[in-house]
Amino acid sequence: MSWLTSDVLVLTVIAVLKAIVILLGAVICGAFLTVVERRLLGLWQDRYGPNRVGPFGAGQLIADMIKIFFKEDWVPSFGDRKLFVLAPAIAFASLLLSFMIIPITPGWGVADLSIGILFFFAMAGINVYAVLFGGYASANKYALIGAMRASAQTLSYEVFMGLSLMGVVAMTGSFNMRDIVNAQEGFWFIIPQFFGFVTFLIAGVAVTHRAPFDQPEAEQEIADGYHVEYSSMKFGMFFIGEYVGIVLVSALIATLFFGGWHGPLLPPIVWFALKTGFFVMLFVLARAALPRPRYDRVMQFGWKFCLPLTLINLLVTGFFILLGA
């Protein structure tokens, strides 16, 4: 136990505290986004949105939390109980854990993993199980169709989501997120990796099941799909999980393509927050503006357009790197 000096102890406690602050911050951001989104949609849809509880409706979140916690927590008697309970936990946890790899400022971040991006892919892969379990365990035909759609869609889009980031990885020569941010000190990767950015954005929307790629939920078609049987906080976990996913993907885009915390004048944390907030807005705007394409078209778009595009992007990137070397 000689290594357990007071210095190490203090550093550990600080690291744990930082981790708790960041993950809690992510959850609060995700939860608060439910209200922010409704206010933004209200703004774009010629109406108010929730504006009654607290200043600018900010207290709506508390009201919603109280409501959702006190709803009947119903588990279908005809379904698979264990999987039914497990699904929302996976949905929430897998996305939240991905926040570990995000470097927020030079000094703040949960973990500095050498495999960085790969960890995110792994977590996104696990997230599919949440939808699959949820849909299967509900023993509901709508949920099953939703789960089928979600698994097929997420799997297809994860294929090129990985490839879309390989350009960035190749240019940095590392999977580590801090290395990637540091490599963008001169210019942001959005410039050389524009197609990588576009395809990652599309894949990010698809993986979080947000409009216009919300086919797994498609209220108008399959009545909310895989979480149709969920109520109370189990539904809440799916719900908040989706928003945590939005924050996560936005933070990733900011980190990978827009220089992370880099920016003039303002402190790094503000730059990071501004960039992330911008992409969160973009998610909400897409929902307000776009209709939903048909499910089979979404699949075609993924395989026939996005996948070739990322491959070509990777080839061209590789070509220029070799040329430079």
Partner: protein
């Protein structure tokens, strides 16, 4: 005007001569009515032949417009008509001749059988099921003769005259747990009874129950789907969850007090529903409505057409997954309601038309309200077109989806915008103007492909045309009375009521008892918000109607769903449901 009427009567009666030549007068009996169409009684044995003849005659009667029954057993005034306990009537339309024809068949209580027409007119299917449901008439040879509107476990046939019309005439309602289980079991979808297989050589089909409460079912509508993956192999629409017995209620309400019930038939149509009813009653009463009343009626009906189409547009795009437009169209509807509320005093269900005119004159300052609305709408419509109908995602979701040709549409009795989307230029307001539509200048927009996209686009254009009509109403609103000066106008003009005892008594009788109309039959068809809507009234010389038949467009549109959607995907079905623009109150009545 009289020569015009006699000319059209000649054309309408041409078919009578053709039928007489072919079948002779022992098969056919003609009945004089106020329905503006020849009415022929046909012997039951020759019905199918006669129908095949009119369907294949030169300039054919391609559209089976309506089919239903009448319980004749309590009817007092039926001199000169063939003896009958029940009648089944068929209303046929020829768009080329621009006329209608009614065929009636007399049936006797102890032998309520009649051959089915399902092989002649495809859309006879649901109409015959409803007639069976309501009167217990057996259509021999029908492929699936079962109850349509009432639950499968129901006892009795509601439109029969011996069936009580009020809940108080029944024993108190009870439902035991076993009874509930029985009712639910009866509603379970049974694929075999519809000739569906549960599996094919390499797939097990999934049977998905969409509705009666589903976000996109637009009310209490159920459709059972046979799915292979997400492909709809076959489907069975199931209606009746919104059935209130509006036709039965008409037999208990005075001619006047039934007006509010009509509002609730197509509940997005407001006073548009009053129009065919009061026009048909006015035919029975022999009232000529002043030009001002006609113009006010047209203006308000067109306001409601816009209102209904805005609701359509918002929900249609919502069904395609675009969540914003519905909020915009609803704020437009709010502006329309602002005008409607100022003029009628109500919003959704004004019940504002009266027998012989309207309830009030236009209020002071109505011009500015209408003008504001006319200025507000056109840029909004342009915006919807640019933002949504030009959107490539919308186009991809809607173009060449759920298409039908003009001929297919007519086979299924499709009317209104859904028919015009196939390219056929048939609008009742132009073809057979009523309520003074001949005085207005407007175009009939048509589509080309008859797909979901055309059905959506067409309605935006129709709103523009309705705005044109309202503008003309605003500019040329005639002076004069808003109510006819006629003894049967209900309620009679109040300013004349206090002049002498005669008018005071009339006023009292008509408000307390209701007007008494001479025995006859009348009929009025209008171009309603969703298609052709008509009221076929039978008066037996009483304060109430003997039989009121309400033909609604949505009923036919729902029957057609399997014909256009089989082979499509679930999202296509949702797009189609959004595009046909139905409300369940209009289907079930």
């Amino acid at each position: 005007m009289t020569t015009e009427t006699s000319r059209s009567t000649d054309i309408a009666h041409a078919i009578v001569d053709e039928l007489m030549d072919r079948f002779g007068s022992e098969v056919l009996t003609q009945q004089p009515t106020l329905t503006d169409m020849p009415v022929l009684w046909v012997a039951r044995e020759r019905l199918v032949e006669v129908m095949q003849f009119v369907q294949q005659v030169d300039k054919p009667y391609a559209l089976l417009y309506d089919l239903h029954g009448v319980d004749e057993r309590l009817r007092m005034h039926r001199r000169g008509l063939p003896p009958a306990d029940f009648t089944v009537f068929y209303q046929l339309m020829s768009l080329e001749r621009n006329v209608e024809l009614m065929i009636k068949v007399a049936l006797h209580e102890d032998d309520l059988r009649i051959p089915t027409l399902c092989n002649v007119y495809l859309n006879a299917n649901w109409y015959e099921r409803e007639t069976f449901d309501m009167f217990g008439i057996d259509f021999v040879g029908h492929p699936h003769l079962s109850r349509l509107l009432m639950p499968p476990t129901w006892n009795g046939h509601p439109l029969r005259k011996d069936y009580p019309a009020r809940a108080t005439e029944f024993d108190p309602y009870t439902l035991t747990m076993e009874g509930q289980d029985r009712e639910q079991a009866a509603l379970r979808f049974d694929p075999e009874s519809w000739g569906m297989k549960r599996q094919s050589r390499d797939t097990d089909y999934m049977f998905l129950n969409l509705g009666p409460n589903h976000p996109s079912a637009h009310g209490a509508f159920r459709i059972a789907l046979q799915l292979d993956g997400e492909e709809v192999v076959d489907c069975v629409p199931d209606i009746g969850y919104h059935h209130r017995g509006a036709e039965k209620m008409a037999e208990r309400q005075s001619w006047h007090s039934y007006i509010p019930y009509t509002d609730r038939i197509d509940y997005t149509g407001g006073v548009m529903n009053n129009l065919p009813y009061v026009l048909a009653v006015e035919k029975l009463a022999g009232i000529t409505v002043p030009e001002r009343a006609e113009t006010i009626r047209v203006m308000m009906a067109e306001m409601f057409r816009i209102n209904s189409h805005l609701l359509f547009l918002g929900t249609f795009l919502q069904d395609l997954g675009a969540m914003s437009p519905v909020f915009y169209t609803f704020s437009d509807r709010q502006r329309a309601y602002h005008v409607i509320e100022a003029i009628t005093g109500f919003r959704m269900h004004p019940a504002w038309f009266r027998i012989g005119g309207t309830a009030h004159d236009l209020p002071r300052g109505w011009e500015q309200l209408v003008r504001d609305f006319l200025d507000w709408m056109p840029p909004r419509l342009d915006e919807y077109e640019r933002a949504m109908m030009d959107n490539s995602l919308v186009r991809e979701r809607t173009r060449h989806i759920a298409t039908h040709t003009t001929a297919e549409a007519l086979t299924w009795g499709i009317t209104g915008p859904n028919l015009r989307a196939t390219g056929l230029k048939y609008d009742r307001r132009k073809a057979r103007p009523y309520s003074g539509y001949e005085r207005f200048d407007f175009d009939i927009p048509v589509g080309t492909n008859g797909d979901v996209f055309d059905r959506g686009m067409l309605r935006i254009e129709e709103m523009r045309q309705s705005l044109r009509i309202i503008e003309q109403c605003l500019k040329h609103m005639p002076d004069g009375d808003y109510k006819a000066d006629h003894p049967l106008t209900t309620p009679p003009p109040r300013e004349k009521m206090l002049q002498h005892i005669e008018t005071l008594i009339t006023h009292f009788l008509q408000v307390s008892w209701g007007p008494v109309l001479k025995p006859n039959e009348s009929f009025q068809m209008i171009e309603a918000t969703k298609g052709l809507n008509s009221y076929y009234l039978t008066s037996d010389g009483n304060t109430m109607s003997y039989r009121t038949r309400i033909r609604t467009p949505s009923f036919a549109h729902l029957q057609q769903i399997p014909a256009v959607i089989n082979g499509g995907f679930v999202p296509d079905l949702i797009a189609h449901l959004g595009s046909i623009d139905f409300v369940m109150a209009d289907v079930d009545r």
